[in-house]
């Protein structure tokens, strides 16, 4: 089995993340696709893969392939939706990359879109809970936040960490979002504000959690044969996915994100890079606990050591592996099924040297990891300038 392939990102586009009261799935998705096509300098694509989580249960809209191929002016390209809970955005890029790597398509678009603000919080809470095990978790009243809270509580129990020790992840994300014009929260926060933030589901506070919001991000992928002189390609050196038990109860250790670990190991092996080669990491920081577990799963910290490293600035700008360089899910925003594609769009900007004030100096290789359903599914990409 190979997870390495010669597929290139030649265009990237995104909408600002936020509360787009006047825009729906159609408008957001089409805007990101058109921006990515313009960036690539191509008019059309052979296929459109759409990543999305909540279209059916929250927006009452499935068949997003046809919706967006039409809205973006790409008819009659083949198009359909890829759903992998919160990892949909990462999964859709891998799916599009597979079609190009297989030689089926010369040019494929991967777009991921989420429209969350048309629904009230009860509907969103119910929608997000569909990523967990309905028979054994959601139907018994566990919300998505509550399950993450269990993991955080266990982490605190095992490591002796306090709530406030998770602050560096949120503080770093907010600081990095300040200069990102597409970010939802462009205000820095302090560790004190973090510690004071009201509880959502103990021990998770408001500032541990990424926001509910809208957004779409897209990349245009092509084969080596299709590359033109004017392209500024970013190579997908590896894309790998793995799964774990859907419910937390089935895991031997709820502090090891097995899918995240397996997908990262596959991506490293396929690309020939090691964690120490990564110039930065776009983490799935939906909750601070998930950032910590993702860092540990990817080999950026030993088990139980992510908070200590974060406290030493290891994951901040200039640290050993800067994380969430444009604000991450926490501060750029987490349009849930689209976040994985935002990570890749942002990583591409870094690797092209187009990240402006957020630029990681000399960035050449990057890791992105999109995690769904408390680690039951993960998609990891290694990108290379």
């Amino acid at each position: 089995m190979r997870d390495a392939f010669d597929v290139f990102i030649i265009g990237a586009g995104q909408t600002p993340v936020g509360e787009h009261w006047g825009l729906g799935l159609r408008e957001l998705g089409a805007a990101a696709i058109r921006a990515a096509l313009d960036d690539a300098g191509v008019e059309t694509a052979d296929a459109v893969f759409v990543g999305n989580m909540l279209g059916g249960c929250v927006n009452g809209q499935e068949n997003l392939g046809a919706l967006l191929a039409d809205a973006a002016g790409l008819l009659p390209a083949e198009a359909w939706k890829i759903e992998a809970a919160c990892a949909s955005g990462g999964a859709v890029v891998r799916a599009a990359a597979l079609s190009v790597a297989a030689g089926i398509h010369d040019v494929a678009v991967a777009v991921a879109v989420e429209k969350m603000t048309d629904a009230v919080s009860e509907q969103i809470t119910a929608g997000l809970a569909t990523a967990s095990d309905n028979d054994y978790e959601a139907s018994h009243g566990f919300s998505f936040v509550a399950l993450s809270a269990l993991m955080m509580r266990r982490y605190m129990h095992e490591t002796g960490a306090g709530r406030e020790d998770f602050a560096p992840f949120a503080v770093n994300a907010h600081r990095n979002a300040v200069a990102n014009p597409n970010a939802m929260f462009r205000e820095p926060i302090s560790a004190e504000q973090f510690a004071r933030s009201p509880l959502v589901a103990s021990p998770i506070g408001v500032l541990d959690a990424a926001p509910v919001c809208d957004g779409a991000a897209a990349v245009v992928l092509c084969s080596r044969d299709f590359l033109k002189a004017h392209h500024r390609p970013v190579r997908i050196a590896a894309a790998a996915a793995a799964t774990d038990t859907i419910g937390l109860a089935g895991r031997a250790d709820i502090l090891t994100l097995g899918a995240a670990k397996q997908s990262a190991e596959k991506a490293f092996a396929a690309s020939g890079f090691a964690p120490t080669d990564m110039d930065f990491f776009e983490a799935h920081d939906a909750f601070t606990i998930i950032t910590a577990l993702s860092l540990e799963a990817c080999g950026f910290a030993p088990r139980g050591d992510a908070l200590r490293r974060a406290a030493h600035g290891c994951f901040s700008p200039g640290g050993c592996v800067p994380v969430s360089t444009f604000g991450g899910l926490k501060a750029r925003g987490h349009p849930v099924g689209a976040s994985g594609a935002y990570q890749i769009v942002e990583a591409a900007a870094q690797l092209r040297g187009e990240a402006g004030a957020n630029q990681v100096p000399g960035a050449r290789v990057a890791l992105t990891q999109s995690i769904g359903g408390h680690g039951s599914i993960a998609v990891t990409h290694v990108l290379e300038a």
């Binding site: 509360e19 009261w21 006047g22 009230v120 009201p198």
Partner: protein
């Protein structure tokens, strides 16, 4: 919009119940540790014998006294509210009867969430302006509804005001123009059989309150050819004080221009009575020749904006209780439990 003949306010009156509940008492029961402080410190609560009808009668009595108008000359009575005592049966007929205005009168209740009171004002201006009636009474009054523990419970207050419209030559303030701006925007609603209203959370801000308030306000300014600085006072619907401050700032009104008309910090949001109470507070202090800018907002959604010019008659009509008298006349209820009893929120069957 302008009527065929000049129309103005002949008399006005306000009413706010005496009782208040501290919003801290609500926080203590419902809010998570570390939550932000409530938007207002206290809000008005109806006493055991107060409802929209009794409060409307009280406010209208002051309006009629101030106008010195013979009840027989009043040809229309509209009560704008979203907390009418009867789901089916007009409040306006009770009010009209109590004031001696029946039987030759058009009477009905208006429903447009928090815009119901200004909707009644638009209709009154039209009825008087067309010459169909000599005088028309428009009332906005609410004992505002909110689900226990909901964000709205920290602000939903009680009160309102009544406006008697008549010929412009006799008015204490004339209507120079008005506009209405509505769209189908479901930001807040209560279904037929539901006990409490629902709202779209943050959707009630940008695409709802601000969009309609700003659009109606800008259209009115364009229609009368005036700028914010031409007005002595500006009054807006006041769900929370910061909404008013932001809307005013975006339109170019100063904090000083909205200060007098901002009553929510002392009593909460009286829904259909909110902006009408603010206007009454401004009329309590306005000077002849001053212009008053007024813009309501009601969920569902829409805004009515009015441009008023105060006349020399204002001074002689200003007898009776002022809005500040009602705001100063206050007694705290004994905690959240008593508040629940007074608001009928404890289910007993």
């Amino acid at each position: 919009m302008r009527p065929n003949r000049e129309v103005g306010i002949a008399g006005y009156g306000a009413y706010v119940p005496r009782l208040r509940v501290r919003t801290e008492d609500i926080s203590d029961v419902w809010r998570p540790r570390g939550a932000a402080a409530p938007a207002v410190a206290e809000k008005s609560v109806p006493g055991p014998d107060e409802d929209v009808v009794t409060m409307a009668i009280e406010a209208a009595r002051t309006a009629l006294d101030r106008a010195g108008t013979d009840p027989d000359s009043i040809g229309a009575v509209w009560v704008g509210t979203e907390s009418k005592p009867y789901a089916v049966k007009p409040s306006a007929t009770i009010v009209a009867e109590a004031l001696g205005i029946t039987p030759h009168v058009v009477a009905a209740d208006m429903e447009f969430a928090c815009k119901a009171g200004s909707e009644a004002m638009q209709a009154a201006v039209a009825f008087v302006g067309s010459g169909m009636v000599e005088a028309a009474l428009a009332i906005g009054m609410d004992t505002a509804q909110s689900k226990p523990g909901d964000a709205l419970e920290y602000t939903a207050g009680c009160g309102g005001a009544a406006y008697l419209f008549g010929d412009g030559s006799e008015a204490l303030a004339v209507v120079e123009a008005s506009v209405s701006h509505v769209t189908d925007t479901p930001d807040f609603f209560r279904r037929e059989t539901a006990h409490y209203p629902e709202h779209g959370s943050r959707f009630t801000g940008e695409p709802s309150y601000f969009r309609h308030t700003l659009a109606a306000s800008r259209k009115l300014l364009a229609e009368v050819g005036l700028e914010p600085k031409d007005f002595a006072h500006a009054v807006f619907h006041q769900p929370v004080p910061k909404f008013v401050e932001r809307a005013a700032a975006e339109l170019g009104f100063t904090r000083e221009q909205v200060r007098v008309g901002l009553v929510a910090p002392r009593m909460g949001n009286a829904y259909a009575g909110s902006s009408l109470l603010g206007l009454a507070a401004v009329l309590d202090v306005a000077k002849p020749g001053e212009r008053i800018f007024f813009c309501s907002y009601g969920s569902g959604a829409g805004s009515d904006a009015f441009c008023f010019r105060v006349t020399a008659r204002i001074e002689e009509r200003r007898r009776g209780p002022a809005v500040t008298d009602y705001l100063d006349r206050r007694r705290l209820v004994d905690g959240y439990g008593q508040y629940l009893r007074l608001r009928g929120k404890i289910r007993r069957s």
